[in-house]
C-alpha cells in the first residue's frame, strides 16, 4: 500500500504535525511550569524567560508530594505483586484441574468483568465501614486484589492453555511437588503475560482516584491522585505550582511507559482481542 515518494513524505510531515497538535496541551503545561503564575496569566504562550524550578519545589512542599509518592508507590507495587502472585496460581489451577467448582468460579469471574465499579462502591463502603476496615492501606490492597483477580486470572488462563503438560509431568516423575513444580517450571514460562499484567495493573492503580478516595481518609495515607485533588481544591488560583504538581504525578508512569512501551502495546492488544 506504499504511496509514491513525495506524497509519502508529505503524509509523514502531516502526521507529525497532527501529533504535535495532539500533544500541544501537554507541552504547553510543561512550558508554563517554569514560569511564575503572574507570567502564566499574562501570557500562557510565551517562552519562559528562564527555566526555574521554584514551582516544583513549592508543589513538593505544599501538596506533600513525597508522602503521596511514597504511598502511591507502596500501594501500586504491593497490589500489583499480590494480584499477579495469587492470580497466576489460580489461573494454573483452573487450567490443570477440571473440577466443577473451577468452571463455575471461572465463569463468575468472567461475568464480573462487566460490572462497573460504581455498582459496587456503595455496598463496599457500607460493608467495610461496618467492619471497621476503612481508612487502612491493607484494606485498599485487599480490594485491589479482589478487583484485579478476574482479569489477571483470565489472562493467565488464556496463556497457560498453550503451555505443554510434558515439562510438568517429568518434574512430577522426579518427585517434585505440585507447588514446587508450579514455581520452578511454570512461573518462568509466564514472564511475557506477567509483564503485560504488571503494566496494565500499574497504570490502573497508580492513576486510580475513586477507590482510594472512598477508603483512605487520613491525609498521611493519601496517594498522589488524592494529593492532587486536595492541592487543586485549596490552591486553585496559584496555577504554576499546580501545573508542576500535575507534571510530577505523570513522570513516573511516563518513565515506565518509555521503558516498556512494546509490552504495553502488546498487552493492550492481547487483553482486548482475546
Amino acid at each position: 500500500m506504499r504511496s509514491p515518494k513525495p506524497l509519502a513524505f508529505l503524509k509523514t510531515i502531516l502526521l507529525y504535525l497532527v501529533l504535535l497538535l495532539f500533544l500541544l496541551p501537554f507541552l504547553l503545561v510543561i512550558l508554563n511550569t517554569f514560569k511564575t503564575t503572574q507570567q502564566f496569566v499574562e501570557n500562557p504562550l510565551s517562552w519562559p524567560k528562564q527555566f526555574n524550578f521554584d514551582n516544583y519545589i513549592k508543589a513538593i512542599d505544599d501538596m506533600d508530594f513525597m508522602t503521596g509518592f511514597l504511598n502511591s508507590s507502596i500501594i501500586t507495587i504491593s497490589s500489583v505483586f499480590i494480584i499477579i502472585f495469587f492470580s497466576s496460581m489460580t489461573g494454573y489451577m483452573f487450567v490443570r484441574f477440571k473440577w466443577k467448582a473451577n468452571s463455575i468460579l471461572f465463569f463468575a469471574m468472567l461475568a464480573s468483568m462487566t460490572l462497573p465499579f460504581q455498582a459496587l462502591m456503595i455496598p463496599l463502603v457500607l460493608i467495610y465501614g461496618e467492619l471497621g476496615l476503612l481508612n487502612s492501606q491493607g484494606s485498599l490492597l485487599f480490594m485491589y486484589l479482589g478487583f484485579g483477580v478476574p482479569f489477571a486470572v483470565f489472562t493467565f488462563h488464556g496463556f497457560m492453555k498453550g503451555v505443554p503438560l510434558e515439562l510438568e509431568e517429568s518434574a512430577f516423575i522426579d518427585g517434585s511437588s505440585r507447588l514446587r513444580t508450579f514455581f520452578q517450571i511454570v512461573v518462568p514460562l509466564l514472564k511475557p503475560v506477567m509483564v503485560t499484567l504488571i503494566v496494565l495493573d500499574t497504570l490502573w492503580i497508580w492513576n486510580d482516584y475513586l477507590l482510594p478516595s472512598l477508603i483512605l481518609q487520613s491525609p498521611s495515607m493519601r496517594t498522589l491522585p488524592l494529593s492532587n485533588y486536595g492541592f487543586f481544591s485549596t490552591y486553585s488560583v496559584d496555577f504554576s505550582p499546580l501545573m508542576a504538581g500535575l507534571i510530577m504525578t505523570i513522570i513516573p508512569v511516563l518513565i515506565l511507559y518509555l521503558l516498556l512501551q512494546k509490552q504495553i502495546i502488546r498487552g493492550i492488544t492481547e487483553g482486548a482481542l482475546k
Binding site: 500500500m1 504511496s3 503524509k11 509523514t12 502526521l15 497532527v18 501529533l19 495532539f22 500533544l23 501537554f26 504547553l28 502564566f40 504562550l45 499480590i82 495469587f86 496460581m89 489460580t90 494454573y92 489451577m93 484441574f97 473440577w99 468460579l105 463468575a108 469471574m109 464480573s112 462487566t114 462497573p116 465499579f117 460504581q118 455498582a119 459496587l120 462502591m121 456503595i122 455496598p123 463496599l124 457500607l126 460493608i127 485487599f142 486484589l145 479482589g146 478487583f147 483477580v149 478476574p150 486470572v153 505440585r178 507447588l179 492513576n207 482516584y209 475513586l210 492532587n228 485533588y229 487543586f232 500535575l246 511507559y257 512501551q261 502495546i265 493492550i268 492488544t269 482486548a272 482481542l273
Partner: protein, 293 residues
C-alpha cells in the same frame, strides 16, 4: 472419590485458589449481591435501620427528573465521544500501518494521554479551558474562546467530549492497528488489480475484515465513557449549576453526599443495566457483519 483424594484436592484448591477466590468473593461477589439487596430497602447510614421497600427505589429513580435529564445528557456525551474517538482512531491507525519510518514513534506519541489518570488529565485541561483559551480569545478577538468553556453548559459539554475523545483515541488506535494488520495484504492488492479505488478498498474490504476490532473498540469506548467520573470531577465538577453532571458522577454524589444509599445504589444498577444492554446489543449486531478473509 475417596475421602483421602477429596482432602488432597481441597488442599490443592485452598493453596492455589484460596486467597484470590476469597478476595474475589469479599470484594466483588458479596458486595454485588448485597448491593442488589440494598436497592430494595431504605438504608439509613446513621441508624443502620432499614425496611424492605420492594421496587419503590426504582420507581423513584425513574420519576426523578434530574436523574433522567442527566441520563439524557450522558447518552449524548457517550454518543459523541464514541463516534469522534472511533473515527479519529480508525483513520490514525490506517495512516500508521502503511509502513514508514517513524511509525512507531508516532504510535507511542498518540498513546501518551492514556498513561494519565482521569483526574490529572481533567485538571490539565481545566487550566487550558479556563486560562489559556480565554487568553487567546481575548487577545485575538475570537468570540468562541473569549469566556471559559467551562462556565457555559453547552460548551462545557463539548469540553467533556473533546477531552474524553482525546484520551480514548490512542487506546483505540492500538486496537485498530492490530485489527488492520490482520487484514491480509494480498486481498487488498487483488482488489486494487480488480480496479477498486482507495475509498472502495476501505469500505468493501478493510472495514468488514477489521470488524472484530471495531466491535471491541466500540464496546470499550461505550463502557468507558458511560463510567466517566474522575474527568467530570476535575474538569467541571458538574458545574455550572449541575448542568454537566454525568450519570456516574451523579451516582457518587447522590450516595455519599446526600447519604441516600438505597436510591444511589438503584441508580448505579440502572446505569449498569443500560451500559450492558447498549454495549452487548452493538456487539451482537456488528458481529453479524463480520466476514472471514
Amino acid at each position: 472419590m475417596t475421602n483421602k483424594k477429596f482432602l488432597h484436592n481441597t488442599g490443592t484448591f485452598l493453596i492455589f485458589g484460596g486467597p484470590s477466590v476469597f478476595a474475589f468473593f469479599a470484594v466483588v461477589l458479596i458486595p454485588f449481591l448485597f448491593g442488589l439487596y440494598l436497592t430494595f430497602t431504605n438504608w439509613d447510614v446513621r441508624s443502620g435501620d432499614h425496611t424492605f421497600l420492594g421496587l419503590a427505589n426504582y420507581v423513584e429513580v425513574f420519576q426523578d427528573k434530574t436523574f433522567l435529564t442527566q441520563l439524557w445528557f450522558t447518552l449524548k456525551y457517550v454518543l459523541f465521544t464514541v463516534v469522534i474517538a472511533n473515527v479519529a482512531a480508525f483513520f490514525l491507525a490506517f495512516a500508521l500501518t502503511s509502513g514508514f519510518k517513524g511509525q512507531q514513534l508516532l504510535r507511542t506519541g498518540f498513546f501518551t494521554p492514556n498513561l494519565i489518570g482521569g483526574l490529572v488529565l481533567g485538571y490539565l485541561w481545566q487550566l487550558l479551558f479556563s486560562q489559556v483559551l480565554p487568553y487567546l480569545g481575548q487577545k485575538y478577538g475570537w468570540a468562541l474562546f473569549e469566556t471559559s468553556w467551562l462556565t457555559d453548559t453547552n460548551k462545557a459539554f463539548w469540553a467533556l467530549v473533546i477531552v474524553s475523545a482525546w484520551q480514548l483515541i490512542g487506546y483505540l488506535m492500538i486496537i485498530y492497528i492490530s485489527g488492520l494488520m490482520s487484514v491480509p495484504v494480498d486481498v487488498i492488492e487483488a482488489a486494487g488489480i480488480d480496479g477498486a479505488n482507495g475509498f472502495n478498498k476501505i469500505r468493501k474490504i478493510i472495514l468488514p475484515l477489521s470488524a472484530p476490532a471495531i466491535v471491541i473498540c466500540i464496546f470499550i469506548s461505550i463502557s468507558r465513557s458511560f463510567l466517566t467520573y474522575d474527568l467530570n470531577l476535575a474538569l467541571t465538577k458538574g458545574g455550572p449549576f449541575n448542568s454537566t453532571e454525568l450519570s456516574s458522577y451523579h451516582v457518587v454524589q447522590k450516595a455519599f453526599l446526600s447519604n441516600e444509599y438505597g436510591v444511589g445504589q438503584s441508580e448505579a444498577v440502572v446505569l449498569f443495566v443500560i451500559v450492558a444492554v447498549i454495549a452487548l446489543t452493538q456487539a451482537y449486531f456488528l458481529k453479524k457483519l463480520e466476514v472471514e478473509a
